[in-house]
Amino acid sequence: MTTPIQTSTGAAHTRILGIGGYRPSRVVSNAEICEQIDSSDEWIRTRSGIVERRWAEDHETVQAMSVGAARDALKHAGVAPEQIGCVIVATVSHLLQTPAVAPLIATELGTTKAAAFDISAACAGFCHGVALGSDLIRAGSAKYVLAIGVERLSDITDRTDRGTAFIFADGAGAAVIGPSDEPGIGPVVWGSEGEQFDLIRQNEKWPQAIDAGDKVMPTLRMDGNPVFRWASFEMAKIAREALDLAGVALEDLDAFVPHQANMRITDAMARALRLPDNVKIARDIATQGNTSAASVPLAMLRMYDEGTLKSGDTALMIAFGAGLVYAAQVVTVP
């Protein structure tokens, strides 16, 4: 005789209850970057919009930055660590292949044996984490989920590579997701394009680095122009799809918070989307650099700090990166 398996059901709706961030202490100027590459402050500013970026000091580890961001998010949400049922950490720069860093973070935060795991979706990691967290809550697998995006890209950046040395940076961002009476997280539009695997990648696999006798770990490479084209135009289509699925018109949007890949990509996407002038656009990259999985929550935080974003606003988040992979959703700002 077959016993029917019971299933769980969760909240009808979810929302982001709080966000937090950690910005590393060390500010790195374009002048410092240009000590190792043949470039200039003006070239970097016009090609990327980056004026300066933050790189982590030794003590600002992936775990430490994550815990800092998560504590802020928990406080903002008014949720205690013991209430968190799952910790999702999106990162590509936790340089220990196993175990994941998420269990360490969950324990340091004081969760009660929360499920904890890492995901690898590069720059799109945070939006993947929000999608997963929301669905876990709606399925009844967790009541509150902590989604963290964290990177120390400076560890895997070739400081002599003219194409990438000025772009990548470090930091952490976090969101607490929980049940809601009203829908606060729209349907995710996500996907992958593995045929473009090579456009953003580490330059070699670990065994190759070892065989070659390299004394440095593999570093990031990017094929700039094709990435620019894909991110600016193909991702604008994905952003539009996320708006359509959420039933939100461009005119009803308060803020556009794209992954902070490059200011030129943000500008081109905004043009391709024909964003109305009243929609606020996140531009955290100018002083933070491209922090990959951490960029969307950090950008949202800056908009709070500058007073351009307030609780209850409707924001479109979209993130895209190595894989190639992408995810986008409309959210209510906590």
Binding site: T46, R47, G224, N225, P226, F228, R229, S232, F233, R264, A268, R271
Partner: protein, 82 residues
């Protein structure tokens, strides 16, 4: 079939929208990089907009050969409709 001047005028409008260059400056003999200050990222935007406007495909490998506005207009004139 659009005339050379019509294609130039439409392309000039695109360059104006993407890079803020006055459309009247976008003449056939002008170099995108040297005369009009259109950098490689703006060029990607111009190419994508031109593909949509003229219904043609401009492969990445071809873009580096389009040094002047005249090169781009000539390419668009002979390109098969996508």
């Amino acid at each position: 079939m659009a005339t050379t001047e019509e294609i130039r005028a439409d392309l000039a409008e695109i360059v104006n929208e993407v890079a803020g260059i006055p459309a009247d400056d976008v003449q056939l003999d002008k170099s995108f990089t040297d005369d009009l200050d259109v950098d490689s990222l703006s060029m990607v935007e111009v190419v994508v907009a031109a593909e949509e406007k003229f219904g043609v495909k401009i492969p990445d490998d071809e873009v580096k050969n389009l040094k002047t506005v005249g090169d781009a207009v000539a390419f668009i004139e002979q390109a098969p409709q996508a």
